[in-house]
Symmetry: C2
Subunit: 330 residues, 2 copies
């Protein structure tokens, strides 16, 4: 264990606009956890700079604190308003990009959103994960490969989407079991395929404080139609992503900034041979997609490299410990 | 009403670490409310810079969002965990200093804290606002003056303190009426006086997420003994302050950074004549204090002046509208 930082607590008296920041940073620097010390130093500096640069009024400050209370109070086991807030502020996209940088020609990440659950059933290849009869049938035929084009077997794949009304199961108060979601495992050929419904565009929940904020900003709450995927296997970089349906009216104005060109796909009307092969009705939609995973090692190396470049560019005297920046005091 | 800013929404595709911030700022700039646009621009910039400078990990991000949910969920009508969070981050002190700058020789502000209520009874001069028999009796004899030393009549004064166990009434689950708090009104001589108990040092509520954070930072949750005052009268700058008892062990390490030298006072053992005059027992404590209020005009002028100086120093192209900075687009 690292020795505690030798910080003598400052005498906290007569704090002013000009000296509150260094004094708060100092009193927060008594822990032996250098990463925590660094996070708090940056947090306090940015929060204080925000207040100083905006000369925030007492009313605005209180409105902000009350907004945060409201976000917490509308949150529940099946709703996380702060993830939504992070999403609409572009923070979620940024955090994903920082933590999961992708080499060219690998599958890019996208935002997790607040609707992943841990109770989805594990289904066999070919199963139907949707129970909404009003949805248009879609069969997805996918593979998981590594960066050399070799199949990756045994990847656990979480898949989730809304029903045809644009709501996830957890948004229905009478939900008694998971629907429009499942877990699959890639087979020896790296393949997984499943039946679902054609995704539809939908608004993020906008009946709460985050929706009110979007309204004040003149922003719409819509997301283009997409299917969520989360892929994990030991030794491989955890992938949170989504496939977006080409031509959606919100393709270039996603309320949560998740769309990437490489993730836009175009389902086709199925041909008779494929319909027969996969046992789906004529007239169904079909989507074929190959996902490309990176190894933990590939991602760690790239992340470290990008972090070091960014730290150098920012002129910060930092070093990486466990892949995360801490002040370089040595 | 100002014309809407002419912002063309950008195409939000392929957002990266480097382009997410200007794009988020742009999509947030469609409102005609320039102050809101500016607040959001600064907020998004600081939140993104925080993520980039710390290369925040996905686990840290999620821990942060869950911390915020917890703060919201422990909050109630009588507990505001986000005010506590603002207090221990030094933000509350900073916001007070920005909004209520004080000319020399006027009463300085201090933090509001989360325990002011709106149900305190209005009491006559000389009344006893405390009902805790274990507290040491204290009589406070105060005046309210303007910057020329003239009495200010008709000031509404909220006063609140903990009981002798260091808890505010609202922290007792069996509270059925306000205790250790009252409202007084200054008389024609600017005077108000009341009986209470000698304040004691106490820890801020540390059974919630903010308390856990203090623990991780190696910080104690204590505040030095103090009496809260809030003074308001139309035309006069709203004053939130407190008087701190000299010699308290936490005098220079207040968990919420509220202590100022000019607010430290020293109650005395009462002399017989004064005890008789104010009808309190021999052996009581007595505290005499003169508060000096500034007018709204004085404070507005000083605040504007300091804001303009700060904006100039920061090199920001801003102007003041209703005393608050907005980008100077004209």
């Amino acid at each position: 264990m690292a020795a505690p930082n030798k910080v003598t607590a400052p005498a906290l008296l007569d704090l002013t606009i000009d000296n509150i920041t260094p004094n708060t940073v100092k009193i927060n620097s008594q822990s032996s956890d250098r990463r925590l010390t660094y996070l708090m130093e940056r947090l306090v500096t940015h929060v204080h700079d925000f207040a100083r640069e905006t000369r925030i009024s007492t009313d605005e400050w209180m409105a902000g604190l009350n907004f945060l209370v409201q976000c917490g109070q509308i949150s529940s086991d099946v709703r996380h308003e702060f993830i939504l807030l992070s999403d609409i502020l572009g923070l979620s996209l940024l955090v994903d990009n920082i933590n999961h940088p992708k080499p060219p020609n690998t599958t890019e990440g996208s935002v997790l959103g607040p609707f992943h659950t841990h109770d989805a059933p594990t289904l066999e290849n070919g199963a139907n994960m949707a129970s909404d009869p009003k949805g248009e049938p879609l069969v997805c035929i996918c593979t998981v490969q590594d960066t050399y084009g070799k199949p990756v077997e045994g990847v656990k794949i979480d898949i989730w989407e809304t029903d045809s009304s644009g709501h996830y199961d957890v948004q229905h108060s009478d939900r008694n079991e998971p629907t429009e979601r499942c877990v699959m495992v890639s087979d020896a050929k790296g393949e997984f395929w499943f039946k679902c419904i054609l995704p539809v565009s939908y608004p993020i929940p906008h009946d709460g404080p985050v929706g009110k904020l979007l309204g004040k900003l003149g922003r719409h709450p819509w997301r283009p139609a997409h299917l969520h995927f989360m892929m994990e296997k030991k030794g491989w970089d955890h992938l949170i992503t989504a496939l977006y349906m080409r031509g959606d009216p919100y393709e270039t104005s996603d309320a949560v900034f998740g769309v990437k060109k490489s993730l836009i796909v175009e389902p086709q009307k199925i041909d008779s041979a494929t319909a027969k092969e996969y046992g789906v009705p004529e007239g169904s939609w079909v989507l074929k997609h190959d996902f490309v995973l990176t190894t933990d090692q590939e991602t760690d190396n790239l992340r470290d490299q990008l972090a070091l470049e960014a730290m150098k560019k920012q002129g910060l005297n930092l070093k990486l410990v466990d892949h995360l920046p801490v002040p370089d005091l040595d």
